[in-house]
């Protein structure tokens, strides 16, 4: 594997949803001209609606295990039912069921630990590796893109996130592109950690609301925990000027710089409906705000 040492990985995350993170990622990709984009918000992947990727390659993503009882072998001893901590072994009504097996696995509840299979005296339970989603590598008019679709009610999104990131890194190395933008998932849990680890810089997108401010603090704690430098962008900054100022002051006190402020503007929604990025849709103030953000971000990246 070639190592592109110049490659810089920037993760854009937001703590809470609905801050305009994905619209901003699309705009940054449009402005950078030279970036690979990875949609690691695999749970609610929306970036493709703007980037309109042409899928070049796709593969199934398999992960973890799910138990499966063979009703022909099962003697309905109930050991699996007693041992499962995830309530994933369901008791069936023997009067209704045609066969003599009284138990069934609830695939959604099954954690894949394999305890039932290990302790089954009849070896009637097999652990299967299910398809959990799809991984794509694509081309867009802004550059290469890696993305994924997670199956409904599937877990392991943290692992899929890692695969998408690796795919994007591969694309960046193959094409010699220096910037890798990662659209991270919301929250502070498993998928976010998976999109953060090893990144060069985090751009946190927030909004001037009590919830935005609260979540930004959680995100700041998280990036500190993983020792990744962070900068902040306040979207809809004029929605509540007071909180906007407070966020900036609190961030500064933590040594975090607010490098962009974007006004509250319906262009975000309108561009989305038109299926293009905000900077392509609009030429006015809001596009200028995003360009300012990009200039600041680019400076920051160059200084890394």
């Amino acid at each position: 594997m070639l190592q592109n040492s110049k490659m810089k990985e920037i993760v854009i995350i937001s703590g809470k949803g609905g801050t305009g993170k994905t619209s901003i990622v699309a705009s940054l990709a449009a402005l950078a001209h030279n970036a690979v984009v990875a949609d690691c918000d695999v749970d609610a992947a929306d970036l493709h609606l703007i980037m309109k990727p042409k899928i070049l390659h796709h593969e199934d993503f398999r992960a973890g295990y799910k138990a499966k009882i063979d009703p022909e072998i099962c003697t309905s001893c109930g050991i699996c039912y007693d041992l499962c901590r995830f309530d994933a072994v369901k008791k069936l009504d023997p009067a209704i069921e045609a066969n003599n097996c009284e138990y069934e696995i609830d695939k959604i509840a099954c954690e894949g630990c394999g305890v039932c299979s290990f302790f089954c005296p009849e070896k009637a339970i097999e652990m299967e590796t299910p398809i959990c989603g799809e991984l794509f590598s694509s081309d867009t008019h802004f550059g290469p893109m890696a993305h994924a679709r997670l199956g409904i009610a599937e877990e392991n999104s943290g692992k899929l996130v890692t695969l998408v990131r690796n795919e994007a890194k591969k694309l960046a190395e193959e094409t010699g592109i220096d910037y890798l933008f990662i659209d991270g998932s919301p929250g502070v849990g498993c998928p976010v950690i998976a999109s953060l680890t090893g990144a060069d810089l985090v751009l946190a997108v927030t909004e001037p609301t009590v919830a935005g401010r609260h979540d930004l603090k959680r995100i700041a704690e998280l990036t500190r925990h993983f020792s990744i430098p962070m900068v902040v962008c306040i979207n809809k900054c004029d929605l509540n000027q007071e909180i906007s100022n407070e966020i900036e002051n609190e961030a500064l006190a933590d040594g975090v710089k607010v490098i962009g402020k974007i006004r509250y503007d319906s262009a975000f929604t309108k561009a989305q409906i038109a299926g293009i990025s905000v900077v392509e849709y609009s030429n006015n103030g809001v596009a200028e705000d995003i360009k300012q953000l990009w200039n600041q971000l680019e400076e920051k990246i160059e200084a890394l």
């Binding site: 594997m1 943290g158 498993c190 680890t197 090893g198 020792s227």
Partner: protein, 119 residues
Amino acid sequence: MKIIITATGTNLESEVDPRFGRAQYFLLVDTETEEILPIDNDQNLQAASGAGIQSAEAIVKNEAEVLLTGHCGPKAFRALTSAGVKIVHGVEGSVKTAIDKFKKGEYQFASSADVASHW
């Protein structure tokens, strides 16, 4: 002495694979005879999680005393050191160069992991 080098191929000319848990191959090398036994890491390459820990298990099972690789995360580091395996990270270039440098004592054993935890 038996050492393991992470590599992208199976012979002396192969490049050192910078990844540990998800390396393509582990080359078990006898430093006296320079005999190489390649171990395919395909299973861990695809592993959903815990690849570093499972790879550490493979290193210990093959009774290697030293691991030469690019990067090693904290979980794998803990697993390897607890089993007495010494780690050199930041190794680059061909497998042959890595073996020579190791024999000349040009590498230093790591005292901690060099990359953050992966999930």
